[in-house]
Amino acid sequence: MKADGATRIYLCGVGGQGSLTASRLLGEAAILDDMPVTVSEVHGMSQRGGIVESTVLMGGPKSPLIGKNDADVLLAFEPLEALRALPYCAAKTVAVVNTHPIVPFTVTMGQAEYPDVESMLEKVRGSVGRLYALDATQLAEEAGNAQAVNAVMLGALAGANVLPLDGETVRRIVTETVPAKFRATNEKAFSLGQAEIQRQLADG
């Protein structure tokens, strides 16, 4: 699709991972930087362990949705969901993927098989321009709270330098708009995610 200077971010994950909060925080960060932004969420059935998708469009589009092959950024909170989001990706896409699997109950019950994580990442790598893979769940645990995956992912996104925003704005939003007791954890989680991607960037 023809370039128009906008940044289209496709977020996906599993209910309970905080990807909706992440998309809202990206929206708040854009407002703080006077960047036009549209955030779209699906509520309702997508909670309770189902698939959660959201979009953040920065830089002018009015549309709440992203077309096929038109995501500039894929922020996937779970590897299987990253794979499911590939129709939105293209050579221009920078993908940031949490490698920590959340096995769907259909797999637990034996109705389907969960694909091998490495092979899923390979498939994603082959369909996007650049893949950053990290175990955000483990980093969140290192930061002191497994629930801080979204802070790690936003740190990683900031680290990948793909946002039309100052990474520090995102960090401010992630740390300042949450209840005081989560601030330190979020700060650490954000930094761990950011450092991990910056390390991958430095490694080429």
Binding site: V14, R48, K62, T108
Partner: protein, 1136 residues
């Protein structure tokens, strides 16, 4: 303070629904009512949070009709009012809505209808723009959150000006999009008004309604005039290709225009006021373009209006949209479809992507949360009612119960339909009907359906899943919540509605809930079950209730463990019904009060320990209980060579050991087994043979079996399954041994034995009959023929003699001889009085045969009492019922013949101390007596068929029994193994099969290329097995065992027909359900395949509980059939 209450103008990132709230606040809103429904819910939820601070009167109404009626009155009283609902909610509110247009309002009333194209969270994707036309109401359709904010303010102005309600229609992508919204200042608000009655307006009797209709039409004209000038409708572009759009679709149009620089090619009309249509604006649009594309979601309303405008203005231009195939009537639009249509019509290259092709990926449907009480309610109802009923569902979180593994929910239409549709199914069908409805949905519109079902006397059950909140839409309180307002009691409503059978359960206590449900479902007529347990999320977040910090883990010493050890597992597939049936049995065994731990399961249930063959008795019984007859049969066949025979003649020590016998009566295990085998068709038997034969891994080694009785057949069967080539050498004309010539036909029809022999031969065992050991072949010859080992089971076919005077008289014979003649021919009738001496099965068989041969009377003389008789008790009873007289404590000391009649001179015995086998020893008394007889049959035991010297190097005991190693059947001769009566002395068929099984194992150990890889028969360790603590079920309901139908004894004695005819399927299943499932089972997946708590996961073949997901509800502890789930007390530290 909530940013929405900011008094000053500012810019905020707002959800479309939040922008609507802010717009309403700025418009001076005084009253708000709603019923929650996605995608409208955040409007109500936001007001719920801020209404006190904002000074707005607020209510969650019981349903949308009520919400609108309340709102209509508030607005009539002069208070600016908003009412919000999802698109299908407007259907519920449609009745008041249609008439509200007539009677109108005094202050502004805005109805927000949030539509859901694409059915993200709805049961349909109806297009509510039709309601504006139907109700003759003005409609606004915003595109972005900013538009929504502005449209609300304009809607209030218009509503108040025209004194009629106005609809604001959003869609999911407007309500749930966040973007920057620039606020104005907050206005004054008025929450109190005074209604000024006007009977020529607000009481729409026909005469008044007729007066009001023209007012409505005039209002629509006034609205159109205003819309023709509305700044909310927007035109841009300088081209001549027209694009008409509204709602969120306008975003996609605008983005495409910018992206592909179409500004000089198109002229876009973006309508925000879509009804009444601003015809002037449309006419101007048509005048300026020479073709037009209409971009709208769902129905082609604007498209057809544009055609009408062409017709009206006389300028006919091509109109593209749905009819031209550029857009679908289905689902929501997105940037791709809009770009594609524009590129197609304007002829530019959009560089469209096709999207990566994906392999099939595992689905990730939403699922009931860990700790959700709905799951427990569904499980309890399924435990009691199984798959028999028609299960109706309704709209709420619990709708998710239709997904596997719960699978409950066959039908629903809309909110509240479960309570009424149940009546329709009950009236027209035979299946029991059970409807599930949430508490909020019950208040919404289930109550009326319930009244209807009671009034019309429908036989249905309504299960109210009372989790105290409106879970699916985000935990809004309802009239039963006790969070705001008066609390309404569902049970009292049901009682007042006239429901006679009402019960309430705590779904987290299965013991109690299943009992209550069973009792309730036994009633007829309308029934209500109230399942009370708060949604754990709601309890934590809104009721402030904290569960104890506990989670649960799986004890892998109990989960997926079989008492036989890893190698002894049956290897059968896990089965959903089997898990449920074992779970049911375990819950039945829980303590009545639901407190304390369930009794510990045994690794080896006593039935299995007692079985000489180590059959997995519990396994096949539970499969029968679950209706899986074929799996039960496969399990039986795994360890049993003669199933059709044994299920008729077994002495069933399993039943004597049954735990159920501690409570009422032991399970009728052997009769259930007989049902399973009798149900086998010829085709099924052939299928089994082909399947089993295919599994055999041939090892090329040959083994000879000498003697084709049960021991030989058992050994041959097991060796064959172990891969050996087996030949049976049988002296008689047919294999079967005692089963062929010892047991009479009324107990074992020959067809049953024939089926077993056919299977053994079908598996590839060769049977050579008429080949007598010693006479026709020798051990050396077997060796020379290439047999690597031989198994000797030549039995004890010669009857023991009493050793008394007169024993050799004619008409005195031993039972072996007698039965052989009866069974193989040679003795067809018998008259006079027959006296049988002995107390074993042979004695009973001989006595009953004598009756069938025509004896006038039959008497059994036994030296102990019936309590010590080794014969099967049921057989003794049956013989007595047929007329056999039992004379206890009697033994003959001599037999005399006088005038062609025999006289037995007998001594009366008395019982002394118990002897070695635990039975009290008979001691002679002083007393003697005589018994006259025409025939005497001596049935006191047997002696070996072979002379000891026939088997070189094999040691015998003083009774001539061969000595073998207990665990392998090996003799001192390394070529020879032995079993059967020749080793054990006269024993049961099962014991004979056991000795064959032991020797097959011993032979395999000796001949296998890798003896160490031959699995030990773990079940042989009877001593250790017997030491296990006996299972102690509590509070089991007394339920006596079922009897199988049998011939009338008076009839039975005149025929050789099988006396007992076996269980019916219903009886077999009912009897199997009496099993308490006291043992563990490795073939269990119940927590996953029936309960389905998402905190469970599988790793490396084991089941685990994720401590982060576990809610600590503990219901799984009761669900697990193995009792393998145990609490871990403390999350923070000391894990148990």
């Amino acid at each position: 303070m909530n940013p929405l209450l900011s008094a000053e103008p500012t810019v905020r990132l707002l959800l479309g629904n939040e922008a609507i709230v802010r717009g309403a606040l700025e418009a001076g809103l005084g009253f708000f009512s709603t019923y929650p429904g996605t995608p409208s819910s955040e409007i109500g939820d936001t007001f719920f949070r801020i209404h006190q601070e904002a000074g707005v009167s607020f209510e969650y109404s019981v349903n949308e009709k009520v919400a609108l009626e309340v709102a209509g009155a508030a607005a009539a009283a002069g208070v600016r009012t908003m009412v919000a609902m999802k698109h299908v909610g407007v259907n519920v509110a449609a009745d008041p809505l249609m008439t509200l247009a007539y009677i109108g309002v005094r202050a502004g009333l805005v109805l927000v209808s949030a539509d859901d194209p694409g059915c993200h969270s709805s049961q349909n994707e109806q297009d509510n723009r039709h309601y504006a036309r139907l109700g003759k109401l003005p409609m606004f359709e915003p595109t972005t959150p900013q538009d929504a904010y502005e449209a609300v303010k304009a809607a209030f102005e218009l509503s108040e000006k025209l004194e009629m309600p106005v609809i604001l229609r959003t869609t999911t992508r407007v309500s749930h999009t966040r973007s920057a919204v620039r606020f104005g200042a907050l206005g004054e608000r008025k929450t109190k008004g005074e209604f000024a009655p006007d009977r020529r307006r607000f009481t729409p009797v026909p005469a008044v309604a007729r007066l009001r209709h023209p007012v409505v039409e005039q209002n629509m004209i006034a609205a159109e005039e205003q819309f023709n000038e509305s700044p909310l409708n927007r035109t841009y572009g300088t081209g001549t290709f027209g694009v008409l759009t509204s709602g969120v679709a306008a975003c996609y149009v605008e983005d495409a225009v910018v992206r592909f620089a179409l500004d000089d090619k198109v002229r876009v009309l973006q309508l925000a006021t879509t009804w009444p249509l601003p015809r002037k604006v449309l006419a101007e649009f048509v005048a300026q373009v020479d073709a037009a594309l209409v971009v709208e979601e769902l129905d082609p309303l604007l498209e057809n209006e544009l055609r009408a405008t062409c017709s009206r203005t006389g300028k006919l231009i091509p109109v593209y949209g749905k009819e031209s195939g550029h857009f679908s009537l289905l689902g929501e639009l997105g940037p791709d479809q809009v770009t594609h249509a524009l590129a197609d019509l304007l002829g530019f290259d959009a560089e469209e992507g096709a999207g990566a092709a994906l392999p099939a990926l595992p689905a990730r449907p939403p699922i009931l949360c860990p700790g959700c009480p709905h799951r427990a309610t569904y499980y309890a109802v399924k435990l009691v009612a199984g798959d028999a009923p028609l299960y109706l569902s309704d709209i709420g979180c619990y709708t998710l119960g239709f997904l596997p593994p719960i699978g409950v929910g066959d039908y629903f239409i809309c909110m509240g339909s479960s309570a009424s549709s149940a009546g329709g199914f009950a009236a027209t069908g035979d299946k029991p009907v059970i409807s599930f409805i949430g508490d909020s949905t019950f208040f919404h519109s289930g109550m009326t359906g319930l009244v209807n079902s009671v009034h019309n006397r429908r036989d249905m059950t309504l299960v109210v899943l009372d989790n105290r909140t409106t879970g699916m839409t985000g935990h809004q309180p309802n009239p039963g919540s006790g969070v705001r307002g008066e609390t309404i009691d569902i049970e009292r409503i049901a009682r007042a509605a006239g429901v006679e059978h009402i019960a309430a359960i705590d779904p987290l206590n299965f013991k109690e809930s299943t009992m209550v449900i069973r009792n309730l479902l036994a009633q007829s007529g309308p029934k209500v079950l109230i399942s009370r347990s708060p949604c754990p999320l709601f309890a934590r977040k809104q009721l402030g209730q904290k569960r104890e910090a506990a989670y649960y883990r799986v004890d892998h010493n109990l989960c997926r463990v079989c008492g036989r050890g890893e190698d002894g597992q049956c290897g059968l597939e896990t089965n959903k019904d089997y898990g449920l049936s074992r779970s049911r049995a375990r819950i039945a065994a829980l303590p009545e009060n639901g407190e304390g731990r369930a009794p510990q399961k045994m690794k080896h249930p006593p039935c299995e320990t007692a079985c000489p063959l180590g059959l997995c008795v519990q396994g096949y019984i539970e499969h029968v209980a679950a209706g899986n007859i074929e799996i039960a049969r496969a399990l039986i066949r795994q360890r049993l060579a003669l199933p059709h025979t044994i299920c008729r003649v077994c002495t069933h020590p399993c039943e004597a050991a049954c735990v159920r016998g501690d409570i009422d009566e032991p399970l009728a295990i052997n009769k259930i087994k007989r049902f399973v085998m009798d149900a086998e068709t010829d085709d099924e038997r052939q299928t089994y043979i082909a399947w089993q034969r295919n599994l055999i891994e041939e090892n090329g080694k040959r083994v000879a079996v000498i003697g084709g009785g049960p021991a030989g057949l058992g050994c041959a069967f097991d060796l064959r399954l172990r891969g050996y080539e087996v030949t049976i050498f049988e002296a008689e004309d047919a294999a079967g041994g005692m089963c062929g010539y010892g047991i009479p036909r009324h107990r074992l029809p020959r067809a049953a034995l024939a089926k077993d022999l056919a299977v053994i031969e079908g598996l590839g065992v060769a049977i050579e009959t008429g080949r007598r050991f010693g006479a026709d072949f020798t051990l050396n010859e077997l060796r020379e023929c290439g047999f690597a080992a031989a198994f000797v089971s030549v039995g004890m076919t010669r009857g023991l003699r009493l050793g008394i005077e007169g024993e050799t008289l004619p008409r005195v014979q031993d039972a072996m001889h007698f039965l052989r003649q009866v069974n193989l021919g040679g003795l067809d009738e018998l008259a006079g009085h027959v006296v049988v001496v002995g107390g074993g099965n042979a004695a009973i068989d001989a006595a009953r045969c004598a009756l069938r041969l025509g004896a006038n009377a039959v008497t059994i003389l036994y030296r102990r009492t019936h309590l010590e008789m080794p014969a099967i008790a049921e057989e003794v009873e049956a013989a007595q019922a047929e007329g056999v007289k039992l004379v206890e404590l009697s033994t003959p000391e001599s037999i005399e013949e006088k005038n062609g009649r025999l006289t037995l001179i007998c001594r009366r015995m008395k019982l002394g101390e118990p002897d070695d086998d635990g039975r009290r020893k008979p001691l002679p008394s002083e007393q003697t007596f005589t018994v006259p007889a025409d025939h005497v049959v001596v049935a006191i035991g047997q002696q070996p068929s072979l002379a000891p010297e026939a088997l070189p190097l094999v040691e015998c005991d003083r009774w001539g029994r061969l000595r073998v190693e207990r665990d392998t059947g090996a003799t001192d001769n390394p070529f020879l193994f032995a079993g059967g009566d020749a080793v054990t002395g006269p024993a049961s068929v099962a014991e004979a099969l056991q000795s064959g099984k032991v020797a097959a194992y011993g032979i395999d150990r000796q001949l296998a290329t890798h003896p160490e890889s031959v699995a030990v028969e773990a079940w042989r360790d009877i001593e250790a097995m017997g030491k296990e603590k006996r299972y102690e079920p509590q509070a089991v309901e007394v339920q006596l065992r079922r009897a199988a139908p049998a011939l009338d004894p008076a009839e039975a004695v005149h025929s050789w027909d099988e006396v007992e005819s076996g269980f019916t399927p219903a009886d077999a299943i009912a009897e199997a359900k009496r099993c308490l499932a006291c043992g563990l089972c490795a073939c269990c997946d119940n927590c996953l395949s029936n309960f389905g708590c998402p905190a469970f996961y599988r790793q490396d073949g084991q089941v685990h509980i994720d401590p982060i997901l576990c809610d600590g509800c503990g219901t799984c502890v009761q669900v697990c059939p193995n009792g393998a789930i145990v609490p871990v007390r403390d999350l923070s530290g000391g894990v148990s």
